[in-house]
Each structure stands twice: as structure tokens, then as C-alpha cells.
């Protein structure tokens, strides 16, 4: 029964919630501030600090960085043939790795997503993800065992009179493809899983054979997922310096040149300028990838 009791004052939490509800902009601001703020300050900020070095001059005599703006580092990169060669080689290897991984991952992802029964699917998922826990370096060293002279590869190929690739750029391509394969399998699997079976049936009903269905229906629908996976394979290859040191013999990649320049010599301007190469490549790649809707498929 209602009496003359005073209305109960809502709790603080409720008042806060109401206030926020009425002020969508404030709500948005509070939601965005931590993540965007953290990323902008911590990440973009430190990135800017590094990249501004690219415009400064390195004085070899004193070994210090002179803060006068100059484009010398960039012109040095463009005009020196070894820098061009290393950049091209890294980008081509990254592209080769991406294509290889896409080709290798697709059949397996398709099998997992659409053919395998549920139990098998889970086992396969675990099987794909498990190697990620063995450690990057451990896997690269294991590949040395396979690739070195008289190693596993040589033993297997010897009856055919062939030799393994040893320590070379080919080996770097193989090992990179191996390392990033799970990062390609997972997004493609997720993308394939999302395709409603009804679409494929409809395509069949309309008279398309398997190949046509694949080409006209499945491929376009999974393209964003493939591109999403390729973001990983491409960027991970572009910046790696550990794997080339261990399996590529003397072949240099972008990461090695950047790393070599920040040590004893301390030529951070040149290292930073060279680091802009993979950054620019990835920025362009990301812009293109966004068009395909890959960001939603990561």
C-alpha cells in the first residue's frame, strides 16, 4: 500500500548509468579513451619517437645523432644497391611465404570446416594450435636439424640423388612458411565455417559443379579471411631477423639490416629510415586489405 513514504533515492551506480545513458558522447569518450589513448600514447607515440630519427643525421665521427632535419637516410637507402636488394628480397620472400601458406592452408582449413565431423574438427584445431606453444626458436632450431648437411632432408632426398636446400634463402622461405602456417589456417577455417551450407546447396541447385561453386561462391566469400591471414604472414616475415640468422646462411633480410645498425655503430637514423620500408609496405597492404573486409575476419 502506498503511504506517504519518500521515493527511494536510486543508488549511485544507477544514477551514473542514467547519466551516461543520457550522454552518449560521454559514454563513447569513456569507452574509447583507455584503448585508443593507450595505443596512441604508448604505441604511436613511441613509433613516432623512433621514426623521427629517420629524419635526423648520424654523425659517424662523434657517434651521436644530430637533430637537423635531412632526407639523407632515405636517399642513402634508395641509392645503395644492397639496401634495395635486401628490401626487394624481403618483400618477395614475404609474398612467396604468403602464397605458399594460403595454398597449403586452404585444403586443410576446408577439410576442417566442412568435411570433418565435429570431433575430428576439434582435434584438428588443437593439432594446428599446439605447435604455437613449442616456442618460435625451438622450431627454428629443429629446422636446422632438418636442413643442415646430412640432416633429415638430406637423408630423405639422398636416395633420389638430391640435396636438401641447406642454409639459403630457399630454406628461409620454407621455415617462414612453416612458422606462420597456423596464423593462416585459423582465419581461413573461421571464414569457411561461416559460410552457410544453404549457399552451397543453392549453388549446386542452380547447376554449378564443384569447381564452379568453389570459384564463384566459396573463394569470394573466404577472400577476406585469406587476406586477414596474409596480414600475419606478410608482416611477420617482413620484420624477422632471428630466422634469417639461423637458416639463411649469409642472406640478409630487412630485419637484419635494421638490427645491425642499432648496435655498436648506433646509427639509429639509418635503422629507423630502413624500418620505414616494412612499415610503409604494411600500411599500403592494410589499406588494401581493409577494402576486402579482411579486418572483420582476423
Amino acid at each position: 500500500m502506498t503511504s506517504g513514504a519518500e521515493p527511494i533515492r536510486p543508488s549511485f551506480a544507477r544514477r551514473l548509468a542514467t547519466a551516461l545513458y543520457r550522454r552518449p558522447r560521454l559514454q563513447l569518450g569513456l569507452l574509447l579513451a583507455p584503448p585508443v589513448g593507450a595505443l596512441v600514447i604508448a604505441y604511436l607515440g613511441s613509433l613516432a619517437l623512433l621514426l623521427v630519427n629517420a629524419f635526423w643525421r648520424f654523425d659517424a665521427f662523434t657517434g651521436s645523432v644530430v637533430t637537423t632535419p635531412t632526407l639523407d637516410n632515405f636517399s642513402q637507402i634508395v641509392t645503395t644497391s644492397v639496401f634495395r636488394d635486401v628490401a626487394v628480397r624481403t618483400i618477395l620472400t614475404a609474398a612467396a611465404v604468403t602464397v605458399t601458406d594460403a595454398l597449403v592452408a586452404f585444403p586443410m582449413a576446408y577439410f576442417m570446416a566442412r568435411v570433418a565431423p565435429r570431433r575430428t574438427r576439434n582435434v584438428l584445431l588443437v593439432a594446428v594450435v599446439l605447435p604455437l606453444w613449442s616456442g618460435y626458436l625451438v622450431k627454428v632450431y629443429a629446422w636446422r636439424l632438418i636442413l643442415l648437411n646430412d640432416g633429415f632432408a638430406d637423408s630423405v632426398l639422398a636416395p633420389f640423388g638430391l640435396h636438401g636446400p641447406g642454409l639459403s634463402q630457399i630454406s628461409a622461405w620454407i621455415v617462414f612458411s612453416y612458422l606462420w602456417l597456423p596464423y593462416m589456417i585459423l582465419p581461413i577455417y573461421a571464414g569457411l565455417e561461416r559460410i552457410p551450407g544453404s549457399l552451397l546447396e543453392a549453388s549446386g541447385d542452380l547447376g554449378a559443379r564443384a569447381v564452379t561453386t568453389f570459384r564463384r561462391v566459396i573463394l569470394p566469400l573466404t577472400l577476406p579471411a585469406v587476406v586477414a591471414g596474409s596480414i600475419f604472414t606478410f608482416s611477420l616475415t617482413l620484420g624477422d631477423y632471428v630466422t634469417p640468422r639461423l637458416v639463411a646462411g649469409g642472406t640478409q633480410f630487412i630485419g637484419n639490416v635494421v638490427y645491425d645498425n642499432i648496435g655498436v655503430v648506433g646509427n639509429v637514423p639509418l635503422a629507423a629510415a630502413y624500418a620505414t620500408v616494412p612499415i610503409l609496405v604494411m600500411l599500403v597492404y592494410l589499406l588494401l586489405a581493409r577494402r576486402t573486409g579482411a579486418f572483420e575476419s582476423l
Binding site: A13, L39, A42, L47, L50, V138, K139, V242
Partner: protein, 265 residues
């Protein structure tokens, strides 16, 4: 959608081949964890359990493992919070720069690790921040946010707003709605994203090498010990144990996330 039987067999064979490719080095790692010879060369010289004993006794391994776990948990938590907040913001509101947020979140994982590592290390040094667990967490969180963000966003997009609106119509405020309606829906997506973030952080070596200072996470311990000629077998043991220990959490995660996606075939 039943594909032709021949096609299915072919796919099965290809899958088996890919699995063989994936597990060849892993099998080698396991075998060499038992190798008698300290220098790993092919073929393995013989079997011994000595290295398992050594690894178990090593205090270094235990502290490296502990540090890795702490860093991964820290980074995952940070990623969970930041990723969810960002996902909500992008999903619920239209604002200037909305597209850029996705871009910004992806950037740390898309740009080469050495760039992130050097940039962060230089910034930490410039501002006098001591390298250690905190800097590792910050370093890892930058590229872990994206996995949580993507999973959360995908789930939010698939969830009908009507549930929340109904909840509010029934008198719940924002917090209660979140706790009782939104969050349960979001939970498995966060779990999947969080587990992937955990794996990313746990295994990361390039950025960590540059921002960890004298502390050793497990990948750094592995890195250091591969440089010491006689430690290779112990490292292999650690890797084997890491794989073995991770089977259960990974299996659970995959069960949960596959239940969660639940798109009808």
C-alpha cells in the same frame, strides 16, 4: 553440401600431409629432448632421461616460466579490457574516425616486431622507465588487443540489441544489463580472444628481447640457452613440457569457441 566422395578423400589426404609437415619439427624436438648427445645432429645418438631431470631442477627454468605466465596473464587482462571497450565503442556508436580505430588496433600486430620492439625500448629508455615485467606487459598488450577486439566485435555484431533493450525496459540499468545480459553472451568470444592473446604473448620473442631487460621470459630463456652449446637438450625438454601442458587449455578453448560460433551448417 556434400562434396563428392573423391574430393573428400583428397582433402583428407592433403590434410594429413599438412599435419605431417606441421609436426615433423615437433617430433624432432621431442626426440631430441631424449638425445644423449648434447649437440643436436642428425641422426640422434641415443636416448636418455637426464635432461628431464636437469630441467626439473633448474631454478632458472621455473622463474622464466613464472615470468612468462605473469606477463601473458597481465597482457591478456589488459587486452581484454582495452579490446572490449574499443569493440563496444565501435559497435554502438557512429563517430568520426570509426574506421581508424580498427586500423589503429591492428597496427601493432601488422607492423614488424622489430619496429615495435625498438620503438618501445627507445621510448622506455627516454622516459627512464625500468625494463621489466611491466614493460613486457605493455609491449605484449599492444599486439594482443586486436585478438580480443576482433572476437568481441564479431560477437557484438551477431547479437541482437533487442535483448538489451528488453532488459532496460524491465528496469535494469546499464551495469545490470551488462552483467546479466550482455556479458554472458560475450563471454565465450572473450575467452577465445583471450586465449589467443595468451598464446601470442607466451611465445613472443622479438619484441620481448628488446623490452625485457635482464629478466627472462621462457622464450628468452630458450634464446639464451641455445647460445650455450651444451644446453640444447634441456631447451628441447622445456619445449616438450610446454606443449604437453598446453594441450588441455587449448582443447577447452577450441571446444568453447566452436560452440560459441554456432553458425548453422
Amino acid at each position: 553440401m556434400e562434396s563428392a566422395r573423391g574430393l573428400r578423400v583428397l582433402l583428407g589426404v592433403l590434410t594429413a600431409a599438412v599435419l605431417a609437415f606441421i609436426y615433423l619439427p615437433i617430433v624432432l624436438i621431442v626426440v631430441y629432448a631424449f638425445n644423449i648427445n648434447r649437440v643436436p645432429t642428425w641422426p640422434p645418438a641415443g636416448l636418455t632421461l637426464e635432461w628431464f631431470g636437469r630441467a626439473a631442477q633448474s631454478a632458472e627454468v621455473r622463474s622464466a616460466l613464472a615470468l612468462s605466465l605473469e606477463a601473458a596473464i597481465g597482457a591478456t587482462l589488459v587486452a581484454l579490457v582495452l579490446g572490449t571497450l574499443a569493440a563496444f565503442a565501435v559497435h554502438r556508436f557512429r563517430f568520426f574516425g570509426r574506421e581508424t580505430v580498427s586500423f589503429l588496433v591492428i597496427l601493432p600486430i601488422a607492423l614488424p616486431g622489430i619496429v615495435t620492439g625498438i620503438a618501445l625500448a627507445t621510448a622506455f629508455r627516454t622516459f627512464g622507465v625500468q625494463l621489466g615485467l611491466l614493460t613486457i606487459i605493455v609491449g605484449h598488450a599492444t599486439f594482443c588487443v586486436v585478438t580480443v577486439y576482433n572476437n568481441a566485435l564479431a560477437r557484438l555484431r551477431r547479437t541482437a540489441r533487442s535483448y538489451e533493450e528488453a532488459s532496460m525496459d524491465l528496469g535494469a540499468d546499464t551495469w545490470q544489463t551488462f552483467r546479466h545480459v550482455t556479458f554472458p553472451n560475450l563471454r565465450t568470444a572473450l575467452l577465445a580472444g583471450g586465449l589467443l592473446a595468451f598464446a601470442l604473448s607466451f611465445d613472443e620473442v622479438i619484441v620481448t628481447l628488446l623490452v625485457a631487460g635482464p629478466q627472462q621470459t621462457l622464450p628468452i630463456w630458450i634464446f639464451n640457452n641455445y647460445l650455450r652449446p651444451n644446453q640444447a637438450p634441456v631447451v628441447n625438454v622445456v619445449a616438450v613440457v610446454a606443449i604437453a601442458l598446453s594441450v588441455i587449455p587449448v582443447y577447452l578453448a577450441s571446444r568453447l569457441s566452436s560452440e560459441a560460433t554456432g553458425v548453422p551448417r
